[in-house]
């Protein structure tokens, strides 16, 4: 009976993994099938010569190049803002917070993690109104406000992954450096953090994915359908998730819809590049630490 139950559980686990794998492969295959044919310079640059667009000699208004760059900039900026804050808060939670403050902050961070993105978008929108009143004509919905709002959205992933990574360090390793006279800060930066980089990277990858896909927040804080390349952080911008949302709800013919699928492939490619970069950075740091 017990053996049957165990075999049943193993079978269920395998079936679940297979289901996830098949779903992912189906989505990728479907995207490639529907949008693969659109991938090319026409999709990215429209009628503008690629070199002119890359050198910013001409703006692209009928291609996805500005949306691609906008997405890259948004994700890098948002995650760049969130990483130091998330790491610091995670370190505080794991290493310094007292029992009471830890309980309270855990609840607050859980609430933050559960906030619908449209609510965070509204908060960002309110911020743009305040900024617009304070600095009339100078600051409104823009790339910076979107990045700030998105960073707020991804912060819980980074805090939680850092906290859990540090808390999972075994006591035998945790006490090694202090036994040699290391200060708590030296222990954190020389031993605990370098040792748990892969776990922290997990949080960074989640944050990248979340930042790249969110539409609700940027819709209220700075993204537009056609803005060209943003020349500063204080300008509106284009982004691939918003383009996908817009085109899938407003398309007038099958060519436009195919562009939406093409945009989805580009978005996945950008995420892949960012995940790979994050992994490479983690492995480089780990290698340097362990040498």
């Amino acid at each position: 009976m017990r053996k049957n139950l165990e075999q049943g559980l193993i079978l269920f686990s395998w079936a679940s993994c297979l289901l996830v794998l098949v779903t992912v492969l189906y989505i990728l295959g479907y995207l490639l099938h529907r949008g693969g044919g659109t991938i090319g310079s026409q999709l990215l640059f429209g009628d503008v010569m690629p070199l002119d667009a890359l050198l910013m000699r001409r703006q692209v208004f009928d291609g996805l190049f500005p949306a691609m760059i906008g997405t890259f900039a948004l994700v890098l900026l948002a995650v760049g803002i969130a990483i130091p804050v998330g790491l610091a808060a995670g370190i505080y939670m794991a290493e310094y917070a007292g029992k009471r403050s830890k309980q309270l902050l855990t609840v607050l961070f859980d609430v933050l993690a559960g906030l619908p993105s449209i609510v965070v978008g509204l908060a960002g929108f309110s911020l743009t109104i305040v900024l617009h009143r304070l600095l009339p004509g100078r600051l409104g919905p823009c790339l910076l406000v979107s990045a700030l709002a998105i960073s707020f959205l991804v912060l819980p992933y980074l805090i939680r992954s850092t906290q859990m990574a540090l808390e999972s360090v075994p006591f035998s390793l945790r006490r090694t450096a202090p036994a040699m006279g290391a200060t708590p800060l030296q222990n954190i930066f020389y031993v605990l953090l370098p040792n748990r980089l892969p776990d922290i990277l997990g949080g960074v990858i989640l944050a990248i994915g979340r930042a790249a896909e969110d539409t609700a927040v940027i819709m209220l804080t700075g993204v537009v359908v056609s803005a060209g390349l943003p020349r500063s952080l204080f300008e509106q911008f284009e982004a691939l998730p918003f383009f996908i949302y817009y085109i899938s709800s407003q398309y007038t013919d099958s060519v436009e819809l195919q562009m939406g699928f093409g945009a989805a492939i580009l978005l996945l490619t950008i995420c892949g590049i960012l995940f790979a970069s994050a992994t490479l950075i983690e492995q480089t740091i780990s290698w340097r630490v362990r040498r």
Binding site: P178, A182, N195, R290
Partner: protein, 235 residues
């Protein structure tokens, strides 16, 4: 030959979550000797060791009472729980080797050099010379000289433990605390560690916890047994 007291405890008591583990222990331990503490498991032998480098404070669950005095240099002994005593400085003077080898997940070289890194000493030549000196001291240099850049966790158990001893010796501590340093090693590795301990005691005081009576008899100058929260001298 009578030697000066290196470690003195006065009414030393330790409580873990309110439960007494050590009670009113008065000791005078001589310098340049090996002092062994034996006793059944779970009686607080490791806790007793952690009192001397205040490592118990890392877990944040304990209360140490009484006085622990150590004579670091010629002159008056210092109260290691005194207000002016820095914990980091104390732990540089009182090194520790744990029961299971605990190399840091980094190379052999960086493991040994780690205590110097903590002090901010980065002169490559000085660090390299010191690393080699320590590896030679624990008779490990010949075995690992071609593997200095390898992950320290790839060494054998005995090599790892000798590496940990070398690391603990890097800052030339005056006292070395050893928490069952051979319990996870085979007979041959045990023998090497024991020989090393006898060499080390010429220049420092070694306070060792061990389960093995025969080992204690071989290396210790003085043996105590921890029973009912008290230390009783048995040899």
């Amino acid at each position: 030959m009578q030697t000066a007291s290196k470690i003195i405890t006065e009414k030393l008591s330790f409580f873990y979550r309110g439960r007494p583990v050590l009670q009113d222990i008065d000791l005078c331990l001589p310098e340049n000797s090996i002092i062994a503490v034996t006793g059944p498991s779970g009686m607080g032998k490791s806790t007793f060791l952690s009192v001397f480098n205040r490592l118990w404070e890392e877990s944040g669950e304990g209360d140490c009472r009484g006085r622990v005095l150590i004579r670091f240099t010629e002159g008056k002994p210092v109260d290691i729980y005194g207000q002016n005593q820095s914990v980091a400085d104390l732990r540089r003077l009182v090194g520790m080797v744990f029961q299971a080898p605990n190399p840091l997940p980094m190379s052999v070289f960086r493991n040994i050099a780690f205590p110097l890194q903590l002090l901010g000493r980065r002169d490559k030549k000085e660090v390299s010379e010191k690393v080699e000196e320590m590896l030679r001291k624990v008779h490990l240099f010949e075995e690992v000289k071609d593997r200095l850049a390898s992950d320290a966790r790839t060494l054998s158990g005995g090599q790892q433990q000798r590496l940990c001893i070398a690391r603990a010796l890097m800052l030339d501590p005056q006292i070395l605390l050893l928490d069952e340093p051979t319990s996870s090693l085979d007979a041959k590795a045990c023998e090497k560690i024991e020989e090393l301990l006898l060499e080390l005691k010429r220049q420092r005081t070694l306070l060792m916890v061990s389960h093995y009576q025969d080992q204690v008899q071989r290396v210790a100058d003085r043996v105590y047994e921890l029973i009912d929260r008290q230390l009783q001298r048995i040899c």
